[in-house]
Amino acid sequence: MRNSKHASLLELTIGQKIMSIILHLVMLMMVLYCIVPLVWLVMSTTKTNEGLYSSPGLWFADDNVFLQNIVNTFSFQNGIYGRWLWNTLMYAVVAGLGSTLFATFAGYAIATMDFIGRKWLLATTLAFMSIPSSVITVPLYLLYSQIGLVGTPLAVIIPQLSNAFGLYLMIIYAQTSIPIPLIEAARLDGANSWTIFWRIAFPLLSPGFVTVLLFSLVGVWNNYFLPLIMLSDTKDYPLTVGLNVWLKMTSDSAQLSVPNNLILTGSFIAVIPLIIAFVFLQKFWQSGLSAGSVKM
């Protein structure tokens, strides 16, 4: 009896060990799949334009010109890259923060109050949540040009302030995290609605707020189609469109050719801020996702 139990335990540990090794190997392969392209990008930022074509993709070239590339990227064409980075930050902050705030206000109201048009708003939001935004980009352009918004940053910001999916998430989040009796009690104590929202509801909603904020930041940061169509001056471009202009310029006779190493360094810098935001705000958005997924 003893022996056999001992043996089975031992077997189990061996089995577990093998299992564990397999698990880690599979995980390692998945991680490699996800980061190899990024490693290529990082390696490319250390190379000269010619080094790109004469060295292995996943290793360094003979001379490392990383700092020089960063400096050149920011100084090329009188520092247009810095403008693009600034524009991207501005669009992302204004549209991302704005759309998340609007969704939070509305989500809070729909989850905790009954008011005229509530059902109507809910139904339209749900119905339009699945409409791809690119479907309306062309009409959006024509419409905005009529009211003189095209060519201004507003044309990029306003459409992205509307975030039906963000509203949906906030409704669910508010329903799960705000106890109605708490609000009723505060109201009986004579607190006005605005105070209740900021003092009681908003702190409860903050993980959901951060989650929706981060995902809308990514949406705005990575948007290409809308700014491409809406903006006419390269000075107003965000990074995605700007980098693509550089990419096209390499094969366009009318333009200065942009060395590929600068395009790649520019792409690398464009990815950094979002990665930093995600890594540092991990705690918030992960708890936001968990709470949201109860209902999802």
Binding site: Q77, V150, S232, D233, M249, S251, D252, S253, A254
Partner: protein, 461 residues
């Protein structure tokens, strides 16, 4: 209880009404933009006067060659402070075309002056978005200021739509080191090109004599232009002829098919990382392209210095002297929406920018290989013999020779972007895979015809 959503109801009604009103405004008078503009009467004396008057004028200009032009524009503003240029960089040429089209459709934010490729402005000329400023007087005074082929290239039908800025004659860049390795010579005719290429590919199957760029129709159609086998002709602003199946054109098609089949040419996109590496490795031994490409090769592959030779492209037929070439380049056009009082100042500015001594100098400073269309520049530069270090020869003299041999009997269809769409959809696959080129071209012509007819053109075959 019947109207619980009254707030919403009112908002939607108001919004709907305003939308409908806006769009009625948008479509109500759009027929006026339908036809090519009949022209505005601008006198030479007005143009001259615009430079000396002290009326303030603000002009907006969009140009993809922003970096090359800005020095000259600045010099102009310093010299004539009453004319202010709001100079915008609209990105690449294809992006600018989309934006200009959008602005015209919206009738808002239309620039006064635009820079176009010779092949890309005609679609805006025929739709009436660009100003036709032709007059006896202007033709007489200005035609001689530009090289003949570029002056011809700013006309569509009988209209004059712009002033030539630069010219980009084609040349052939050959890796002579690789040819020598295999005991081969730089070909002077297309038949030699084929024979040389066949030997090369047999000796080293990883190498091709040349390639056909499949990103747009330019490289492909250049073969037909060189062979004097026009694929189409623009008769006037509302009538075109298609001849992709003419006997001459089919001869060129058959030749291309032979080259593709025997590994002499390969259809490939020239805008990729892979392609750039292939060039570095010498996969394609020749590169036939407009002359600015020489500068790009020099910048991108410093280590290939001394390995390239620049010559004229091969000739059709047996006589290398009879070679005909092609040319690209760009021009400045005026928007049809420009107010009459601004048009004279705009033309004065364009004329100065493209032909004045100061401007030519500024151009050359900002970019050593900008090949201007102005005859003054061409005469002066042709006298200068400069040895290009990268090529170890006087590359400019080749470019001038090519510029003089441009086949001017060629017109650009007034719907370049759609033409390129059909090209990449239908012809490009046959160029890069094992498709049949003639079949592809036979499928291509009806599409072009259908599109042109739907856009209101008369199409002859």
């Amino acid at each position: 209880m019947n109207r619980p959503q009254s707030a919403f109801h009112r908002i939607t009604t108001a919004a709907l009404t305003s939308v409908l009103m806006l769009s009625v405004g948008a479509c109500g008078n759009s027929t006026s933009a339908g036809n090519a503009s009949s022209g505005m009467d601008i006198k030479l004396s007005d143009i001259e006067h615009a430079l000396t008057s002290d009326n303030d004028v603000n002009l907006t200009m969009w140009a993809s060659s922003y970096e090359y032009l800005k020095q000259s524009v600045q010099a102009f503003e310093e010299k004539y402070p009453h004319i202010h240029i709001d100079f915008v960089n609209p990105g690449s040429q294809s992006d600018m075309m989309i934006k200009f089209q959008n602005a015209v459709t919206a009738k808002k934010g239309i620039p006064d002056i635009l820079q176009f490729g010779y092949d890309s402005y005609p679609q805006f000329a025929v739709s009436g978005s660009l100003l036709n400023f032709k007059s006896e007087e202007i033709e007489k005074a200005w035609a001689s200021k530009y090289s003949p082929s570029t002056w011809q290239a700013v006309h569509v039908g009988q209209g004059l739509y712009g002033l030539p800025q630069d010219q980009a004659p084609i040349a052939m860049y050959s890796r002579k080191d690789i040819l020598q390795e295999h005991g081969l010579e730089i070909p002077k005719t297309w038949d030699e090109f084929y024979e040389t290429g066949k030997k090369l590919h047999e000796a080293d199957p990883s190498k091709y004599m040349g390639f056909i760029d499949v990103t747009d129709s330019k490289a492909w159609s250049t073969f037909y232009r060189q062979a004097s086998a026009p694929l189409w002709k623009v008769e006037n602003t509302s009538e075109i002829s298609l001849s992709t199946d003419s006997a001459q054109a089919r001869k060129v098609t058959a030749f291309l098919q032979k080259c593709l089949d025997d590994g002499v040419l390969k259809g490939v996109s020239n805008a990729t990382d892979e392609f750039m590496r292939d060039i570095n490795a010498g996969k394609y031994v020749t590169w036939i392209d407009e002359n600015w490409r020489g500068g790009l090769i020099e910048k991108s592959y410093p280590s290939l210095a001394g390995k390239y030779t620049v010559t004229l492209p091969p000739a059709w037929g047996d006589d290398p002297q009879s070679v005909k070439t092609a040319s690209g380049g760009s021009m400045l056009a005026l928007s049809a929406a420009i107010p009459q009082e601004k048009a004279a100042a705009a033309l004065a500015f364009m004329d100065w920018l493209n032909t004045s001594e100061e401007s030519i100098e500024a151009f050359q400073n900002s970019n050593g290989f900008f090949f201007m269309a102005s005859s003054k520049f061409q005469q002066e530069a042709a006298k200068k013999k400069t040895i290009d270090e990268f090529f170890g020869q006087d590359a400019n003299s080749v470019y001038f020779e090519s510029a003089n041999k441009v086949n001017a009997d060629w017109s650009y269809l007034p719907f370049l972007s759609q033409l390129n769409t059909y090209f990449t959809d239908v012809i490009a696959p046959a160029l890069s895979d094992d498709g049949d080129l003639e079949d592809a071209i036979n499928a291509f012509q009806p599409k072009v015809e259908d599109f042109a007819q739907k856009q209101g053109f008369t199409v002859n075959k």
